[in-house]
């Protein structure tokens, strides 16, 4: 499946393309079977899709992943001309690091801004963005090219129509491997990853998950209060 947080970035890219022209190219790094899920990205309006896929990439941590993606971005640049903007979701829904945006920015040697709520303007080689900060917003003018991680819900992902879905079938998904993009194999996979996961353990799911769906609200409330009482939750009841 496509990371739900990426959908905001996908939506942003399509809206920017609609407003300013240009081309939206999706890049994913995943095993080959991900291609099916990427149809959805194309259906949302992205023009073409690159799937970077290679066993050599397995075990990459964020430093190695961001390196691989930065090389793929440069490859896109060679093929299609300059890349003005790289957008990513604020984080993935499984590992939630939020590191890929800033680290791709560093590998590419361009500015990065995380927690971008909205891209207000693109003009004369600059973007003006509104980003979330503690307690409010900052508005910043950023020289392009740049990497933005889109957070917040300002770009609500569109639901593709049947026509969009059908059109997406005709669009292209290029599958690239490590050699094809010219990756340095010592910088990817386990060898290229400074971190090691040394232990994993399941934690008890502490949440009780007692959800009441009764259409009669009074019934649901009685059930809730009964359960709270039974479980000894201090609600002043």
């Amino acid at each position: 499946m496509v990371n739900p947080y990426d959908k905001y970035a996908i939506e942003a890219s399509v809206q920017l393309k609609e407003k300013f022209g240009g081309k939206a190219v999706g890049i994913a790094m995943a095993p080959p079977h991900a291609a099916d899920a990427l149809r959805e990205v194309l259906a949302m309006g992205v023009d073409e899709m690159v799937l970077l896929s290679d066993p050599k990439l397995a075990g990459s941590d964020t430093l190695a992943t961001s390196y691989a993606l930065s090389v793929a971005i440069k490859k896109v640049e060679q093929r299609l001309g300059s890349v003005d903007l790289v957008l990513c979701g604020i984080e993935s829904s499984d590992s939630n690091t939020g590191h890929i945006g800033p680290e791709v920015g560093e590998w590419l040697g361009v500015p990065s801004v995380s927690y971008v709520d909205r891209i207000l303007e693109i003009k004369d080689g600059y973007a003006v963005v509104k980003r979330l900060i503690e307690g409010g917003y900052a508005v910043m003018k950023v020289k392009l090219p740049a990497v933005f991680s889109i957070a917040g819900t300002s770009y609500q992902p569109r639901i593709p129509s049947l026509r969009d879905v059908l059109a997406a079938r005709r669009k292209q998904i290029d599958v690239w491997n490590a050699d094809g993009v010219g990756l340095d194999p010592s910088l990817v996979g386990l060898v290229g990853s400074p971190t090691r996961v040394v232990k994993m353990w399941r934690i008890e799911i502490r949440r009780k998950g007692k959800i009441f769906t009764d259409s009669d609200v009074d019934v649901a409330i009685e059930k809730l209060l009964n359960e709270l009482k039974k479980d000894g939750v201090p609600l002043g009841v």
Binding site: S114, G135, I221, V237
Partner: protein
């Protein structure tokens, strides 16, 4: 020879941020375990006066970059300053708070140093590790502990070879170390190399920030409202909160809509809370909100969307229209008490 743990200190109006002090305290515990010193990295303009406070809070050395080019936070120049200090001081471990700033500055610094970093740790510890591939033993390294795969699995991660070992650590998890004016330490000022180009790539045009006056940290019960509430919904929440002797919280969406002041915001860009009971009303449960409340003892969710992610982390929930459920619940609780 590197022999220290450094903590990156965020500042707010001339004071160290609370989460930075928490982290300094935790780093002090780690330092004892690992036989290292604990220090701080303090970057900004006219921040030098904060250094003494950091010593009172446990830092034995404070590395200060006080530079007019660093007057307001700007990612690239700050990256260069922090990287420069790390290169000069060669710390074993560098820790950042997992805040809006920490979560972009730390990975940028790590990528420039080509070292590893773990995001959003809920705990950090010191331990040994034997690489099963090579048999090589690494002593007293940083265990970076965090939830993964949606939170049901915990992972311990290490950075065996490269230095520094880096992590961002969630705020609100550790106590603020007590202030002790008898503590002494050294303050080292560094001048750093910031490429000219980095200063002009990003220009901060405007900052809009509200100051926080309400502290929700000690609240036992929090009734929190989100996008689904509207200004009217918050009136209902206030009544419920008053019956429960609780405080009012909010998601960012509700604050942005102007229904409630920023003081009440919970989440990544607001406060981190862990009350006995957290009642989330009309809150979908976006990750930015959840990080601020997921350590609550009991979570009760009220939302009309049965698919809302908040139900996945709730102990109890009612699927229904909050404008019906909340007044009825309030009435019912009034009757009982």
């Amino acid at each position: 020879m590197s022999n220290k743990i450094l903590v990156y200190i965020e500042t707010l109006e001339g004071l160290p941020a609370e989460h930075s002090l928490e982290l300094l305290g935790k780093a002090g515990d780690l330092a004892k375990k690992a036989g290292l010193d604990v220090g701080a990295i303090l970057v900004g303009y006219e921040v030098k006066s904060i250094a003494q406070e950091l010593i009172y809070r446990g830092a034995s050395e404070v590395h200060v970059v006080d530079d007019p080019r660093l007057g307001s936070y700007n990612l690239l120049p700050y990256t260069s300053a922090v990287v420069d200090v790390i290169k000069k001081t060669e710390p074993e471990i560098v820790l950042f708070s997992a805040t809006v700033i920490g979560r972009e500055l730390a990975p940028r610094v790590a990528a420039r140093l080509k070292t590893g970093i773990t995001a959003d740790c809920t705990d950090v510890d010191i331990g040994d590790w034997v690489d099963p591939g090579t048999g090589r033993k690494y002593e007293k390294i940083l265990y970076q502990i965090r939830p993964t795969f949606g939170g049901e699995i915990m992972a311990a991660i290490v950075t065996p070879q490269r230095r520094p070992q880096m992590a961002t650590v969630r705020p609100g998890l550790f106590p603020i170390p007590p202030r002790d004016e008898s503590r002494t330490g050294k303050v080292v000022e560094w001048s750093v190399n910031i490429p000219e180009s980095e200063q002009s790539l990003v220009e901060v045009i405007e900052i809009k920030r509200e100051k926080r006056k309400v502290d929700l940290k000690s609240a036992r019960v929090i009734v929190s409202g989100g996008r689904g509430c509207g200004a009217k919904g918050f009136e209902l929440l206030r009544e419920l909160a008053s019956v429960l002797n609780g405080e009012i919280g909010a998601s960012r969406a509700a604050v942005d809509a102007g229904w409630i002041p920023y003081d009440h915001q919970i989440g990544l860009t607001g406060q981190t809370v862990k009350p006995d009971v957290y009642i989330a009303v009309g809150i979908s449960g976006a990750v930015q909100h959840v990080v601020g409340m997921k350590d609550s003892k009991i979570v009760i969710a009220i939302n009309k969307d049965p698919e809302a992610p908040i139900f996945r982390i709730a102990d109890y929930g009612i699927v229904g229209d909050l404008f019906v459920v909340v007044p009825k619940l309030t009435e019912r609780l009034k009757k009982k008490s």
